[in-house]
C-alpha cells in the first residue's frame, strides 16, 4: 500500500469541474511533482491534499488514513507556499515556532526544535530578524524551516522557487533535493517548470485541464510520453513534432517527411511499433527530441537504428555547451542538438542523423501515442 493515495478525486466549483477524477499514489520517501501549465488544477490538487480546499468526491489517504474530513492541522502535513507566507509581524524564530505554539508545545522544547532546524538550514544568525529584513533566498529557507520543524508525514511545496532569480533557483533546487535525500521525507511538489519536475521527482504527474495526462517516473515521462501534450510539455528545447505520413516499401514501414524545395525524406522504420501499420498512407505526427537529431559523429554509437539525411540549416544557435541548428521539416521548424564544436553554417545543407530508436509517433486526430 502506498503512503499517499488519491482515489478518483473530483473538485467542482459551481458548474466548473476543476479536478476530473485524479488517481495518483506515492510510496513512502517518494518525491511527487505535479507539473502542468497554469490553470491545470495542480495547485488546487495540492490544496485538497493539504485540506485547504474541500473535495467534491473521491478519497485522499495519508499513510493508510483517510484524511478527507480532517482539518489541515490534523493531517500531519507541512506546506511551503509560493509567496513563503511568512507572518510579517513575527521574528524568524516566531514564524518557525508558531505551529508548535498553537499546539501548546512548552517553550523550552520549542527553542530546542528551532535551534535544530536553524542548524540544518543555516539560519541561526537570522532567528531574531523580521521577514522584511531577509533576502528572497533567506525567506525561502525560513519557509522551509517552518515546514521542517513540524517533522510531518508529508511535505507539500507550492511552486516554492518561482519567486527566486534564476541562479538562486538552481541553488535552492539542489538544496531541496539534498534535503529530500538526507531526511527521506515524502514530498508533493507543484511546479510549472518541467526542468524542476525532471530533476527533483521520483514520480511525475503531468496535468492538463484537471486531468492527469501521464503519471510515471521522469524517465518514462521523458522517453515514453503517452500523448502529444506530454511530449510537447516536457523537455527543453521541446520535442520536435513533425507532421509526416506512413508509407510501405516491401513489408517494411517508413515515415515520410516533407522537406522544403527538395524531395521528401523517407526514414525506414526497422522497429516500428505495432500500431503504426494501421496508419499506412495516413498522416501521423513524428516526434523526435533535439538530442536524437544530431551530427552523424555525435550520434549515439550503440543506437541500433540510425538514419542520416541531408537537411537545409536555417539558423544556428551556439549555446556554449551545445549548438542548436534549426531546419525545416513538414512545414515546421525543427531543432537539432549538435556538439558544441560542430562545424555547421546557416544556409547550407548538412547531413544529420535521426536516432530512430528514440522516435515516437502520435495519431493527429486523438493526439494519443501510437504504440
Amino acid at each position: 500500500m502506498a503512503f499517499l493515495e488519491i482515489d478518483g478525486l473530483r473538485k467542482r466549483f459551481g458548474q466548473i469541474e476543476i479536478l476530473k477524477g485524479i488517481d495518483v499514489e506515492l510510496e513512502k520517501g517518494g518525491f511527487l511533482v505535479l507539473v502542468g501549465p497554469s490553470g491545470c488544477g495542480k495547485s488546487t490538487l495540492l490544496n485538497t491534499i493539504a485540506g485547504l480546499e474541500t473535495i467534491t468526491s473521491g478519497e485522499i489517504r495519508i499513510d493508510g488514513r483517510a484524511v478527507n474530513d480532517l482539518h489541515p492541522s490534523k493531517r500531519d502535513i507541512a506546506m511551503v507556499f509560493q509567496s513563503y507566507a511568512l507572518y510579517p509581524n513575527m521574528t524568524v524564530a516566531g514564524n518557525i515556532s508558531f505551529g508548535m505554539e498553537m499546539r501548546g508545545v512548552p517553550a523550552d522544547e520549542r527553542q530546542k526544535a528551532i535551534d535544530k532546524v536553524a542548524k540544518v538550514l543555516q539560519i541561526g544568525h537570522l532567528l531574531q530578524r523580521k521577514p522584511s529584513q531577509l533576502s528572497g533566498g533567506q525567506r525561502q529557507r525560513v519557509a522551509m524551516g517552518r515546514a521542517l520543524v513540524r517533522d510531518p508525514k508529508l511535505f507539500l511545496f507550492d511552486e516554492p522557487l518561482s519567486n527566486l532569480d534564476a541562479k538562486l533557483r538552481v541553488d535552492m533546487r539542489i538544496e531541496i533535493k539534498r534535503l529530500h535525500a538526507t531526511t527521506g521525507t515524502t514530498i508533493v511538489y507543484v511546479t510549472h517548470d518541467q526542468i524542476e519536475a525532471m530533476t527533483l521527482a521520483t514520480k511525475i504527474a503531468v496535468m492538463r485541464d484537471g486531468e492527469v495526462q501521464q503519471f510515471g517516473t521522469p524517465a518514462e515521462i521523458y522517453n515514453n510520453p503517452s500523448n502529444l501534450f506530454v511530449a510537447d510539455f516536457m523537455g527543453s528545447p521541446a520535442m520536435n513534432l513533425i507532421p509526416a505520413t506512413v508509407a510501405t516499401s516491401g513489408n517494411a514501414l517508413s515515415v515520410v517527411l516533407q522537406r522544403e524545395a527538395r524531395e521528401p525524406i523517407s526514414l525506414p522504420m526497422a522497429n516500428a511499433p505495432a500500431g503504426l501499420s494501421a496508419f499506412q498512407g495516413k498522416p501521423i505526427i513524428f516526434g523526435v527530441r533535439p538530442e536524437s537529431l544530431t551530427d552523424p559523429e555525435g550520434a549515439e554509437r550503440n543506437a541500433s537504428n540510425i538514419a542520416t539525411a541531408d537537411l537545409h540549416i536555417e539558423v544556428v544557435e551556439p549555446a556554449g555547451s551545445d549548438t542548436f541548428a534549426v531546419t525545416n521539416l513538414g512545414g515546421k521548424g525543427v531543432v537539432a542538438r549538435l556538439r558544441a564544436d560542430a562545424n555547421i553554417q546557416p544556409g547550407t545543407s548538412t547531413p544529420l542523423a535521426f536516432n530512430l530508436t528514440k522516435a515516437v509517433f502520435f495519431d493527429p486526430a486523438t493526439e494519443n501515442r501510437i504504440r
Binding site: 485547504l52 482539518h71 492541522s73 507541512a78 507566507a85 507572518y87 505551529g99 499546539r103
Partner: protein
C-alpha cells in the same frame, strides 16, 4: 522685410524671458490665493483662540482680531469648572468625561467588529458574501435623520427590558442607560463604514498567510488575533480617526437620545453653554469651551494623522 528677416535668437530669448515672467506671475497668483484661502479658513479658529484668552472688558471694548493685551486662563478654567450648562453650574468637565465614556467604547467596539467583518468577508468567503457586503455598504448611505424615530422605538423597548431586568434580577445590565444607548447607536451606525475600510484592506491581504496559519493549527480567532490584527495598523489608524471624529462630533444622535440630564455628551453641553441666557453672554468662556470640545479630535489627528492619508490611499488603490 528686414524686420521679418531678423535672426530668430533675440526673439526667442525675449519670449523665454516673457515666459519666465508669466511663470512668476502664475506662482504669485497661486500662492497668493492659497494664502488668502488659508487665512480665510483659519480666521474663525484665530478669533476663537484669541477671544478665549481675553477678559470680557477687552472683548466688549476692543477689536475682535487684536491679540489679548493681558492673556488670561480664567475663561478656560471657568468653562471647565464653573460655567452653567442649563441650570447646573459646574462647568463642562462632567460632560467632557461623558463624551469620553461614550466615544472610547463605541470606537473600540465598532472598529473591532468592522475588522472581524472584513476578515470574514475576504478570508472566509461564504455564499452571498458579496451581497452581505453590498447591504452593509448600503448602511453608509442612510442619512442619520431617517433612523432617528425607528432607533428611538428600539431604544425605548431596550429601556423597558432594562427596567424589567432591574425589577427581577436587580441590575439592568446598563440597558436603558443613555450612554449605553449612544454607544449602541454609534456602533450600529459605524459598522458599515468600518466594515468597508477593513474589507478593502483585507482584500489585498495575502490569503496564503491565512492558509499557512491554518496548516499551523491556528483557529479562526487565533488567526484573527495573531495574524490579521497585528498587520492591520494603517487601516486601524484610519478607522479609529474616522470613527473617533464622527462620534465625538455627533450632535444629532446625542441630542435626540441623551439631550437632557447628567449623561449628555460634550456637543450637547456646548450647545447648552452657549444658549444659557443668564445676564451677559460670556464670549470668552464660550470660546474656551468650544476649544476644549475640539481638542480631543485635534489630538487624535496630531498623534495618528500621518497614517491617515497613507492608510486611506492603501485602501483606495487596492480596493
Amino acid at each position: 522685410m528686414s524686420t521679418v528677416a531678423t535672426p530668430a535668437r533675440p526673439t526667442a530669448s525675449r519670449q523665454a524671458s516673457g515666459g519666465m515672467n508669466v511663470k512668476l506671475v502664475n506662482r504669485i497668483v497661486i500662492y497668493g490665493l492659497l494664502a488668502l484661502f488659508a487665512l480665510f479658513y483659519l480666521m474663525p479658529l484665530f478669533v476663537m483662540l484669541v477671544t478665549s484668552f481675553k477678559t470680557m472688558d477687552e472683548i466688549q471694548n476692543g477689536n475682535m482680531l487684536s491679540l489679548p493685551k493681558a492673556p488670561t486662563f480664567d475663561p478656560w478654567l471657568k468653562a471647565w469648572g464653573e460655567t452653567c450648562v442649563g441650570l447646573t453650574c459646574a462647568g463642562i468637565k462632567g460632560y467632557f468625561w461623558n463624551s469620553i465614556k461614550m466615544v472610547v467604547p463605541a470606537v473600540i467596539i465598532s472598529t473591532l467588529l468592522g475588522a472581524l467583518n472584513g476578515y470574514v468577508l475576504t478570508k472566509w468567503r461564504f455564499r452571498g458574501a458579496t451581497l452581505v457586503f453590498g447591504l452593509m455598504l448600503f448602511a453608509c448611505f442612510i442619512p442619520f435623520q431617517s433612523v432617528l424615530l425607528p432607533m428611538a422605538t428600539i431604544l425605548g423597548s431596550v429601556g423597558r427590558f432594562g427596567v424589567t431586568l432591574q425589577n427581577s434580577i436587580g441590575t439592568s445590565l446598563g440597558l436603558g442607560n443613555s450612554t449605553v444607548n449612544l454607544v449602541f447607536v454609534h456602533v450600529v451606525y459605524g459598522i458599515g463604514f468600518t466594515t468597508l475600510f477593513f474589507r478593502n484592506y483585507y482584500e489585498a491581504f495575502p490569503t496564503e498567510l491565512v492558509k499557512a496559519a491554518q496548516v499551523d493549527g491556528a483557529s479562526f480567532f487565533q488567526i484573527f488575533r495573531r495574524i490579521m490584527l497585528p498587520n492591520s495598523m494603517p487601516i486601524f489608524v484610519v478607522t479609529v480617526i474616522y470613527q473617533f471624529t464622527n462620534i465625538w462630533n455627533d450632535f444629532l444622535f446625542a441630542s435626540a437620545y441623551a439631550g437632557t440630564g447628567d449623561s449628555m455628551p460634550m456637543t450637547v453641553a456646548l450647545n447648552n453653554v452657549v444658549n444659557t441666557s443668564t445676564g451677559v453672554v460670556e464670549y470668552n468662556v464660550n470660546m474656551a469651551a468650544a476649544m476644549i470640545a475640539a481638542l480631543p479630535t485635534l489630538l487624535v489627528y496630531v498623534l495618528a494623522g500621518r497614517y491617515f492619508v497613507r492608510g486611506l490611499m492603501a485602501g483606495a488603490v487596492k480596493g
